[in-house]
């Protein structure tokens, strides 16, 4: 039976909770560099600025923000290396 909600499978998880700008973006940048094209990085963040930063960063770097979630002050992003 196919599941109704397909979970995104990440290749690596980056925990940048508790860090402020620019550290989540810089850590994500380093983490994505270590991935192969098409692989997915999941990022956990608490910096509210990350809501605007990750879409902008992904667009600037040619990586794809597949999905993002915000819940109780925790922001989660799935970025696919382009």
């Amino acid at each position: 039976m196919p599941q109704q909600t397909q979970e995104l499978q990440e290749n690596k998880v980056l925990d940048s909770r508790g860090l402020l700008c620019p550290m989540p973006v810089i850590q994500a940048s380093n983490a994505v560099r270590a991935l192969a094209t098409g692989q997915v990085l999941k990022i956990l963040a608490t910096d509210p600025g990350s809501k605007a930063d990750f879409p902008a960063w992904a667009e600037a770097t040619g990586n794809k923000l597949l999905k993002h979630e915000a819940k109780d002050g925790l922001f989660t992003y799935w970025i696919q290396k382009g």
Binding site: V25, I26, A28, S29, A60, T61
Partner: protein, 187 residues
């Protein structure tokens, strides 16, 4: 006729190649920052923006001039301070006090050290890198850290006084670099 078309198609290929080349050139963004201040609160924005730009694939350079050059000075970069004097936004040493530092208090000897300690504690509690760590990160990420040669002359700073990561340039070289920048900032 066929010959004319062939010429045209060749020209089209050439056009496509030139277009791609031109597009590639503008695709790389460039940030050029002038950092003219040597106090902690003025240095952090330059370092935060430059490392972020580098993480976005931008070419980035910071031109450290006047007091900003202290950031690249071996004996001074670890001792950058922030002064409460002349800063109406300087907060009280104890966050519980709902007041700003009165000018007369800010002028007391030792208050700059107090304000510096407080700011360093803020940065630490926010898990933000120190200036030293930011400089290392910047260098690793390919940010050009430029020392202004005029400032070196005026302030009697020698090449060996600077961190090894510093490159020495004058205004012409930096302006040439900045003329091709997509973003330029003076801090």
């Amino acid at each position: 006729m066929v010959e004319a078309l062939e010429t045209l198609s060749l020209d089209l290929e050439e056009f496509k190649r030139l277009h791609a080349e031109a597009h590639k050139e503008t695709a790389t963004k460039r940030l050029a920052i002038v950092a003219s201040k040597g106090s902690l609160d003025m240095v952090y924005p330059a370092l935060i923006l430059s490392t972020t730009a580098a993480s976005m694939g931008w070419e980035t350079a910071i031109f450290f001039t006047f007091y900003g050059l202290d950031v690249l000075h071996k004996g001074r970069y670890k001792g950058l301070k922030v002064a409460p004097l002349g800063n109406p936004a300087a907060p009280a040493p104890f966050p519980a006090l709902p007041i700003k530092v009165p000018t007369i208090i800010a002028a007391i000897p030792g208050m700059t050290a107090v304000a510096t300690l407080i700011m360093k504690r803020w940065m630490k509690n926010a898990s933000l890198p120190t200036v030293e760590q930011f400089l290392d990160m910047s260098h690793e990420m390919g940010v050009k850290l430029i020392a202004c040669s005029t400032t070196m002359g005026v302030m009697k700073i020698k090449e060996e006084d600077l961190l090894p990561v510093a490159e020495i340039q004058g205004a012409a070289a930096f302006l040439h670099y900045a003329s091709k920048a997509t973003v330029t900032l003076f801090i």
